[in-house]
């Protein structure tokens, strides 16, 4: 007599549990058809975007087999701080062994380490960590000023639209990502160089004085941008948002 009710209760409980958990259950992971030996970044590392916005370029990672050849069908899962959005958050590598995802960084300015995981033949997770930077208001303004006034000389990379002047200069300016050098120069000294030109710190006169062109807050914005994109990171560059 006691058995049928028990069965019904169990059934009800099961239905209840599944219906309640339905909301939180995420889409099932695709089943991998291959297992790689290494995961590497193809493109999309070290980008900057305004906090809370999508990175300009998608992140592309590649899974290789033990021969170092691109491996299709391997599962890659992306993870980062809770606010970071991956679209898609996981996927199988395509015929060229790659997975592409669009990344939207968190709402607060800072550095965001992103992790891409894949499983190897021994069913162990192997991880790739890369870093992206979210810019706050001040750094975004600094980036804009950099594009208008600084980048033509300080960025050695040329594009079709913008030819770099870097190679034309007798004394080479420091790229703003050159943390090894710029991190050793304090904010006061950077302000002096930008305001009064290179000679203010016994450096090249090819660096002109910008103190009459840029305001105090502009120069602060530029410095905060330089600190944000520095590689290796500047010590006071702000918080790092890891997964927690």
């Amino acid at each position: 007599m006691t058995r049928p009710p028990l069965a019904i209760v169990t059934l009800l409980a099961a239905v209840l549990v599944t219906s309640c958990s339905h909301k939180t259950a995420s889409a099932p992971l695709p089943t991998p058809t291959a297992f790689g030996a290494a995961i590497v970044e193809t493109s999309g590392e070290k980008q900057t975007a305004q906090a809370g916005t999508a990175l300009p370029q998608p992140l592309v990672v590649q899974v290789n087999d033990d021969q170092g050849a691109a491996l299709p069908g391997a599962l890659v899962e992306f993870s980062a701080a809770p606010e970071v959005i991956f679209d898609p958050a996981n996927g199988l590598t395509d015929s060229s062994g790659q997975v592409t995802t669009n990344v939207t960084l968190g709402n607060l300015a800072g550095r965001y380490p992103l992790t891409a995981l894949t499983t190897n033949k021994a069913r162990k997770k192997i991880a790739l960590t890369i870093e992206e930077t979210a810019l706050g208001y001040q750094q975004t303004l600094g980036r804009q000023l950099n594009e208008q006034y600084c980048e033509r000389c300080h960025n050695p990379e040329s594009t079709v639209e913008r030819v770099s002047n870097f190679d034309n200069l007798e004394i080479k300016p420091h790229p703003f990502t050159d943390g090894d050098t710029l991190n050793k120069i304090g904010d006061a000294d950077l302000t002096a160089i930008i305001s009064h030109g290179g000679p203010a710190l016994n450096k090249s006169a090819l660096m002109p004085a910008w103190g009459s062109t840029l305001g105090k807050s502009d120069i602060q914005a530029l410095i905060s941008y330089i600190r944000a994109i520095s590689d290796p990171p500047y010590r006071n560059a702000g918080p790092v948002y890891g997964p927690n």
Binding site: Q50, T53, L108, T140, A205, S212, T213, V240
Partner: protein
């Protein structure tokens, strides 16, 4: 059971003193609830947490001193701000907490406004007066506004700042896209200043389309515009094969010929790829038109349409007529009227027609259209609102074709229909609607755009700024945008400038494009003879630019007309052209200028005076600047370049008059070395 209860009642309330005492106790306990509730409130919890956090920091003493307990409030009657956010966000003003990534204790990022002067909810929305997390951030009580997600925060800047700001690229881009992608053709957007947002995409008239292209191409284009050109602004209407067939049939049947377009070409398109490429390059077509290169990258501007597959689109005779004079087909076009001669038209048309993609129309097989199909096509063209963007003979531009968006930022969530699984917020709705409009219903007319995620976010940002508060702010609290003027040059020269589409690239008196220099004060800047030579044969001032002034093949008479007008009308009141001579500066002053140029100011970093030693690539080449610019202009430029051309990259060096005069003397001595050399330099 009953017995026990009865004896309990007796024990507690048996005599009046005991009953009074007990009731008093209960009363006291209930009175204590109020202070206890206050004591255990969220904000107090956070303030305790903050104090605990700062205790072990090196800057603890300063932070302790700044800390004020209790509920904090920012009250700004003028802005209707009553914000208590700082009760929990205690460290908002503490710059030294920059390393803290835990909310609510992070310091506020540096922005141009102070929290004491603006409060919090003005930008972030939410309920400023609330003192619990849920009430402040979400709209649990169906209050006005939930908190604005930080990714759209620039929309709040846009409520007061009506023009672009250097620190709000997302808002600027969103506003630009609303015009550039023609959203405002269908959706009316009335701006708070009373004007209506105008589209800048300039969709072509379809009244004479049969002159220009074939029905097959129209069919393929309607089915998938981006298959023809990745950069096409025309969205995808997801038409069925039959609908695209009927619409293309109608558009061809409805088209009337334009005299000239159908005339037999005077010269056959010539197949000379080398000459074609060189003419395409010399004419700087790439300044406005993009072409996909072998690597798949687009190279060129976005003023005109992409030309990667133009040979699969246009009819040869139309293309030739267009190249001869585009204004005959479209009087309003941004394309200049180049004065090409017949062999040039033949070469260029041959070159462009070779840019074809045989796959594009390979699978398009259309039978002769029936009258029913044409009638059905006409109905579809009306239904889809094609005439909102395009001029189509016989079809009126529909009024209010799509919902007005002037106050979209205040649309109540209760009026929105959400998709299953999506967040029930206005920003999410707007973004999802732009991303995939037809997901909200297959019958919806809004077409599919190819926006990137970043573009969608910026569009949502711009739209959220269109709200009640933006519309009702008193002018004293807003920063107006610089409005595009409707300046038009007068007379014969004015007509010529319109014909050459100078305003597609140049800006004059607040009207025109931003690709090329502002010419408002060009007459004060350059010497007459130089301008004459330049208009005849524009040479390269800035070697690194890929967008340059094209050669229009003007007649001497046209050149003189233009030069006279520019030299007379476009003068700056701040520059007296004749106040400084163009020659005979003392040699000592010229020498001093040279020293300043190469030494103190290191101008060679960006400019070239001596082609043997200087390599600077950013500013214009100055080898012949003494034959180009007026001395008074150079002097004024040395003193304050931004005053003469706002936004120029040339830094203001706060030069003394003496230095500026010496540099002017040095630069004005850099003359073109006679006619023969000029001719050689041009090559």
């Amino acid at each position: 059971m009953k017995e026990i209860l009865k004896s309990l009642w007796q024990k507690l309330f048996g005599d009046s003193v005991r009953a009074f005492g007990l009731v008093s106790l209960v009363f006291l306990a209930s009175l204590a609830i109020a202070p206890a509730k206050n004591y255990f409130s969220e904000w107090r919890h956070y303030q305790h947490g903050y104090l605990k956090m700062i205790r072990n920091r090196s800057d603890a003493v300063t932070l302790q001193r700044h800390f004020q307990g209790g509920i904090q409030q920012i009250w700004l009657p003028d802005l209707a701000v009553v914000d208590r956010c700082t009760s929990c966000h205690v460290g908002l003003k503490e710059a030294s907490l920059a390393d803290v990534n835990m909310q609510p204790f992070r310091p506020h990022p540096v922005i141009p406004h102070k929290v004491d002067q603006f409060g919090c909810a003005v930008c972030h929305r939410g309920q400023g007066a609330a003192t619990t997390v849920a009430e402040a951030h979400s709209s649990t009580l169906a209050w006005e506004q939930p908190i604005l997600p930080a990714k759209y925060i620039e929309s709040s800047c846009g409520e007061c700042h009506r023009g672009p700001l250097p620190g709000t690229p997302q808002l600027n881009q969103g506003r630009h896209l609303l015009s550039r992608y023609g959203c405002v053709h269908c959706h009316t957007v009335k701006l708070p200043n009373g004007s209506t947002m105008k589209a800048t995409d300039d969709p072509p008239s379809l009244s004479h389309i049969a002159d220009k292209t074939t029905r097959q191409w129209i069919y393929a284009w309607l089915k998938d515009p981006q298959a023809y050109a990745a950069t096409a602004t025309m969205p995808n209407f997801k038409l069925s094969d039959d609908d695209a067939r009927d619409m293309s049939a109608f558009l061809i049947a409805n088209s009337t010929p334009q005299p000239g377009d159908t005339a037999t070409p005077s010269a056959k398109p010539a197949s000379d790829p080398a000459a074609g490429a060189s003419l395409y390059g010399e004419s700087f077509c790439a300044s406005c038109h993009a072409v996909q290169n072998a690597a798949g990258n687009l190279v060129g501007g976005d003023v005109g349409p992409e030309l990667t597959r133009v040979g699969s689109k246009v009819k040869p005779e139309w293309l030739q007529a267009w190249l001869r004079n585009p204004r005959a087909y479209d009087a309003e076009t941004a394309m200049p009227h180049y004065r090409f001669n017949d062999p040039q038209v033949a070469t260029l048309s041959g070159f462009l027609l070779a840019k074809a993609d045989s796959d594009l129309l390979a699978n398009v097989h259309l039978e002769e259209a029936t009258p029913e199909q044409i009638a059905h096509g006409k109905r579809l063209v009306s239904d889809y609102g094609c005439a909102s963007c395009h001029e189509i003979a016989g079809i009126k531009k529909p009024e209010n074709f799509a919902p007005e968006l002037s106050r979209i930022g205040n649309k109540p969530v209760t009026q929105l229909v959400f998709l299953p699984g999506m967040q029930h917020t206005l920003p999410d709705y707007i973004a999802a609607k732009i991303k995939q409009p037809r997901a909200f219903g297959q019958a919806l007319k809004m077409p599919q755009y190819t926006f990137t995620p970043a573009q969608i976010d910026s569009l949502a940002t711009a739209l959220l700024a269109l709200n009640d508060r933006a519309a009702s702010l008193p002018p004293s609290l807003t920063v107006a945008a610089t409005l595009e003027s409707d300046y038009q040059p007068a007379g014969k020269a004015g007509k010529l400038m319109t014909d050459l589409a100078c305003f597609s690239c140049h800006r004059i008196n607040g009207h025109g494009g931003d690709m090329a220099p502002d010419l408002t004060w060009e007459g004060s800047s350059v010497q007459r003879q130089w301008l004459v030579e330049f208009l005849k044969n524009p040479n390269t001032l800035r070697p690194s630019l890929i967008r340059r002034m094209p050669k229009f093949n003007l007649t001497d008479e046209e050149v003189n007309e233009l030069t006279d007008y520019i030299m007379t009308v476009y003068q700056s009141p701040a520059i007296d052209r004749d106040s400084m001579p163009l020659s005979s500066y003392p040699q000592g002053q010229i020498e001093l200028g040279k020293q300043l140029f190469y030494g103190k100011y290191a101008c060679q970093g960006c400019h070239i005076v001596d082609t043997k030693t200087d390599k600077g690539y950013i500013g214009p080449t100055l080898t012949q600047v003494g034959s180009r610019l007026n001395a008074a202009w150079i002097f004024g430029w040395m003193k304050n370049p931004q005053a003469l051309r706002p936004g120029t990259a040339e830094p203001n060096r706060a030069m003394s008059d003496e230095d500026a005069r010496a540099l002017t003397a040095f630069l004005i001595a850099q003359k073109a070395a006679g006619k023969s050399e000029v001719a050689r330099a041009k090559k």
